[in-house]
């Protein structure tokens, strides 16, 4: 059964905000997140999926697209670094320095996580059940709780470490 327009429309209406938020948190880039979400919905057109599988499917596709972008960006960054070009590390466009620092700290802490941990925690934030997270990650549902607990600790350790760095000197 091909998803008919009505299915696509309801999926789009229901999932767009959540998928955008997820992709934005994953990539840290609103433009990239928008592209990823659009591409993910484009790919949904080709899918024969029962209604209850659309949400996990499209989040996994968005995750893969985000990873793909991250790899390309990393490769470009390395090439630029090898050429001594620093254009890839422009400063944050935010005018509010405090907010920019906080965003940078969160992004840094997120990037300290493995892709799997990041995906797992962000899916949990979007309200996915453990069984869905397990399916998306290819792990046993009974392992998800422990993996989440460890990933949360890793994130907290990395994030609080940056708070120490940002604290004003006495």
């Amino acid at each position: 059964m091909l998803l008919r327009p009505v299915d696509f429309q309801s999926a789009y209406r229901d999932l767009y905000p959540s998928l955008f938020r997820y992709a934005h948190r994953f990539t840290g880039d609103a433009d990239a997140a928008e592209d990823i979400v659009q591409e993910a919905f484009l790919r949904l057109l080709d899918q024969d999926l029962p209604d209850d599988e659309v949400r996990p499917w499209i989040f996994v596709v968005a995750t893969n697209l985000a990873r793909d972008r991250a790899r390309k960006r990393e490769r470009r960054r390395r090439l630029l670094a090898a050429r001594g070009d620093t254009r890839g590390s422009v400063s944050s466009p935010y005018e509010d320095v405090e907010r920019a620092e906080r965003v940078a700290a969160v992004r840094w802490a997120l990037e300290e996580l493995s892709d799997r941990d990041r995906q797992m925690l962000l899916m949990r934030e979007e309200g996915f059940r453990y069984v869905e997270i397990a399916e998306a990650l290819g792990v046993r549902p009974t392992s998800v709780g422990a993996l989440i607990a460890r990933a949360l600790k890793r994130f907290t350790a990395a994030y609080t470490a940056t708070e120490g760095l940002n604290a004003p000197s006495e």
Partner: protein, 263 residues
């Protein structure tokens, strides 16, 4: 007293405990201040994470009207010159009607003359159902064949990239990573872990281990980027024909690195 595991505490926090476990965990928490404190720490970590994410969030762009989005997606698909979708809709147009007419005539002829070879041809023609849509390049990892897992598997790079993920191998298992001149990546499991399960997707191979053993990972030197993850942690990447460690190795030789699971 046996304390609750981290997984049980997190399950409890997220409302994921089975009913029979929930009562036991609740009882334990009522009696054990240590586990209560660990639960509070996990709750605090979860709150820290949720609050931190808020700093990243921007206003969600106003989504297009879904019907417009659908039309736009169709238009985009048309621009990409991708026939995967359009053939679904168009195949049953003029050509489809002509084919259907031929099938009806052929079917009638075959039914009337059972001895004719036409009958076999017609039966064969009917075997495939509708044309299938090509699977998108990026999709959730699909399971490998249901047949007994092989002890080794190879996978070609996807756009020059390879990812090897090793999970669930017993502590003390050795993971050998080396570069080869082969165009594909190969993963082989020996010893007690030979019953490991392989899951293959384009550019990715995941191996879920059993009782331990020796795992050999060969990465193509020519790959633009290749990486090996062990239990979710990046262990080594290969780029520009060199291995670059991302976690301590148990042994390092030229183009050959050994990691010990659990180290």
């Amino acid at each position: 007293m046996l304390h609750l595991s981290e997984g049980e505490l997190q399950n409890c926090l997220d409302g994921e405990l089975e009913r029979e476990d929930a009562a036991r965990v609740r009882d334990h928490l009522a009696r054990c201040p240590d586990c209560g404190q660990r639960l509070d720490e996990l709750r605090l970590a979860a709150e820290t994470f949720s609050n931190a994410l808020l700093a990243l969030d921007t206003a969600v762009p106003v989504a297009e009207e879904p019907s417009l989005a659908f039309e736009a997606a169709l238009a985009e698909r048309g621009r990409q010159g991708d026939a995967r979708l359009s053939h679904r809709w168009r195949a049953w147009g003029t050509l489809g009607r002509a084919a259907a007419l031929i099938l009806v005539v052929a079917g009638a002829a075959a039914a009337l003359a059972p001895g004719l070879p036409l009958r076999d041809w017609f039966a064969g023609l009917l075997e495939p159902e509708v044309p299938t849509i090509e699977t998108p390049v990026l999709e959730p990892v699909r399971e490998g064949p249901a047949a007994p897992s092989p002890a080794a598997v190879s996978v070609d790079p996807e756009e020059g990239r390879i990812q090897v993920r090793l999970e669930g191998f017993a502590p003390e298992s050795n993971v050998h990573v080396r570069l080869t001149d082969s165009p594909d990546a190969r993963v082989r499991v020996e010893g007690q872990g030979a019953g490991a399960r392989f899951v293959v997707a384009p550019g990715t191979v995941k191996v879920v281990g059993g009782n331990g053993g020796e795992i050999w990972v060969e990465l193509p030197r020519a790959a633009a980027e290749a990486e090996v993850e062990i239990d979710g942690e990046l262990a080594v990447i290969a780029a520009y024909g060199r291995l670059q460690l991302r976690r301590p190795a148990a042994d390092t030789l030229e183009d050959d690195v050994v990691f010990r699971v659990g180290d």
